[in-house]
């Protein structure tokens, strides 16, 4: 271990032992997966998305493999905030590291009620405001497409939530840098770049789209270069921390995201193929930084921009 570098970093109001964060929507809620023994190398975890009321999620096929990636149309299935607070938070508190509640941006009233519920319970370290899911009919992603919508969403959430507030942006926004800046101006502590990429698949045998909603969100190694570009763009536009998210599947990807300006990375789809990826990324980063005489993660952040 002597050849390894300390990977701790302070990001958006959270102290992380490692810059590797488990993205929302991929990690089981079952208690066994939130025990510290399962989470080597993990700096923090994002919960599955939760809204005020239960959602059944989408019908029909929900996942479809693509070259170096996967499309999903899960549709924010969750059991609602009351059940989340009762059943999921006690599990999350056992992780021994910070977690972020991935909160679905719904109507103003619903988000205010959800945040009030989270405020009323102890030990919720942070909120990741989800304004970017491409898989639902009620226009969650609409909030994130334009800077005005992003600003309004963050303003509402900020007025109810005094703790660390991260905002998960959508790569579908043609004004991504401006949306990130709007989040910063309204008091966000960090922005996450970003959610899945809008795609689709055709079932040529059945002569119809694979997914009932036709479109779906693409993730996995296939989107990494796209996500890296958004991290570069957004990092140049804001002064709050940027979290890179999209296709990270090895320590080199993580290093590239950090060099482009990210302060930490979220890993998602790559966990489908390797449950121990966070440890491998942390070990790889640490050994490489020692070799390169880079003292800490902050020395790597934005290194590629200088």
């Amino acid at each position: 271990m002597s050849s390894k570098t300390d990977l701790s970093i302070e990001v958006g109001g959270l102290k992380l032992a490692s810059p590797v964060i488990i993205a929302s929507g991929v990690w089981p809620q079952d208690a066994e997966f939130w025990s510290p023994g399962r989470l080597e190398g993990v700096g923090a975890l994002c919960t599955k998305a939760v809204g005020l009321k239960p959602r059944a999620g989408n019908k029909g096929p929900r996942v479809h493999e693509t070259p170096c990636g996967v499309l999903n149309s899960v549709g924010l299935q969750n059991t609602g905030m009351a059940s989340f607070v009762k059943n999921y938070l006690p599990v999350a508190r056992c992780a021994g590291r910070p977690f972020l509640v991935n909160l679905i941006m719904e109507s103003e009233r619903e988000v205010r009620e959800s945040l009030a519920a989270l405020r009323d319970v102890p030990d919720v370290p942070a909120v990741e405001l989800n304004i970017s899911c491409p898989n639902v009919e009620d226009d969650n992603m609409e909030w994130g497409l334009r800077p005005e919508g992003t600003a309004l969403a963050v303003r509402i959430a900020r007025s109810e939530w005094g703790g660390p507030l991260w905002v998960k942006l959508t790569p579908q926004s043609p004004y991504l840098a401006a949306a990130a800046k709007a989040a910063e101006d309204e008091g966000a502590d960090a922005v996450v770049c970003g959610n899945t990429w809008l795609g689709m698949a055709m079932d040529i045998e059945r002569r119809r789209p694979v997914f009932q909603r036709i479109v779906a969100g693409l993730s996995g190694p296939a989107v990494f270069p796209l996500a890296l570009r958004t991290v570069w763009q957004v990092s140049g536009a804001v002064s709050i921390p940027v979290i890179g998210c999209g296709g990270v599947s090895c320590w080199r990807d993580a290093a590239a995201m950090l060099m482009a300006g990210a302060s930490a990375v979220e890993v998602g789809a790559a966990l489908f193929t390797d449950l121990e990826l966070p440890r491998k990324i942390a070990d790889g980063l640490s050994a490489w930084m020692a070799e390169q005489n880079i003292d800490g993660v902050s020395g790597l952040v934005g290194l590629g921009r200088r």
Binding site: P28, A31, K48, V63, V74, A222, A269, F272, T273, D274
Partner: protein
């Protein structure tokens, strides 16, 4: 069951055999899976460590003993093609054992069990038959499409000698489907354990509408993680969406909302 055991393993192929047109058999050295897998459980298998094909393939365990487990599967695309091309000594990535199997349901194992498999759905029933023992098997029936499946049929007969084989085209065993080998009514104390395509299991549930809690079905599903994280394999049930990978793949036929389940 699922959580504790759900780990990723590098494993070595101990033996590989092409069973005939489009089906293959792999024996895999992996004590962590072989020593704890129970009938009805599955593994997510990847042929290599590169990103394409990206996801593991969920395959039912056919046998497990002495540190080796076996898989018998149909080659349906590039992922299973790469698996079928593996030879002794090659490596694989294996996640498992996963899911709740036939024996993981509350209550005692029934005194008598009828086994019914459709296509490669017969694979986990081979494992179940071994654990049940001769005396508790009331009958075993399987259905395949026919021509091209001879190798699979031979393997099945070897693994489950008493199996009553049916084929759609009549070329192997009797003409008909697996369901033709089941009794008209289910005797008291007996259960049916079945695995196969959704269409077959839906027909099975419809044929025994009052015995839903005495029929255990193992569902095939598209999956991404296999450990209950992604919710990609939702099964509509009377108590809401359940996960095929961790709440199943074995469910009581009576709890599944068959009309809402995708074929």
């Amino acid at each position: 069951m699922s959580g504790e055991a759900a780990r990723d393993h590098e494993a070595r192929v101990a033996g590989a055999r092409v069973l005939g047109d489009g089906t293959a058999l792999l024996a895999v050295e992996c004590g962590a899976v072989a020593d704890s897998a129970t009938p009805g459980q599955f593994v997510m298998v990847r042929a290599g460590s590169c990103g394409d094909p990206f996801l593991g393939r969920p395959l039912a365990v056919a046998e497990a003993s002495g540190g080796i487990f076996k898989l018998a599967f149909r080659v349906v695309g590039r992922g299973t093609e790469l698996l079928a091309a593996k030879r002794q000594g090659d490596t694989l990535t294996v996640r498992g054992p996963l899911g709740r199997g036939f024996f993981d349901r509350a209550g005692d194992t029934p005194a008598r069990v009828f086994l019914a498999g459709g296509g490669v759905g017969a694979v986990p029933l081979v494992f179940a038959a071994r654990r049940l023992g001769f005396a508790r098997i009331a009958g075993a029936t399987a259905g395949i499409s026919g021509a091209g499946w001879e190798g699979f049929a031979d393997w099945l007969k070897e693994a489950m000698p008493k199996v009553d084989l049916h084929s759609d085209d009549g070329s192997v065993g009797k003409a008909g489907t697996a369901l033709d080998g089941l009794p008209r009514s289910l005797p008291p104390g007996a259960e049916i354990w079945a695995c196969g395509p959704v269409g077959m299991l839906r027909a099975l549930a419809a044929r025994f509408p009052n015995d839903g809690d005495r029929i255990r079905v193992s569902l095939e599903s598209r999956m991404a993680c296999g450990v209950g994280g992604c919710l990609g394999c939702a099964v509509p049930t009377a108590s809401g969406n359940r996960r095929a990978c961790t709440d199943g793949p074995v469910f009581a036929a009576g709890e599944v909302l068959w009309d809402e389940l995708e074929d």
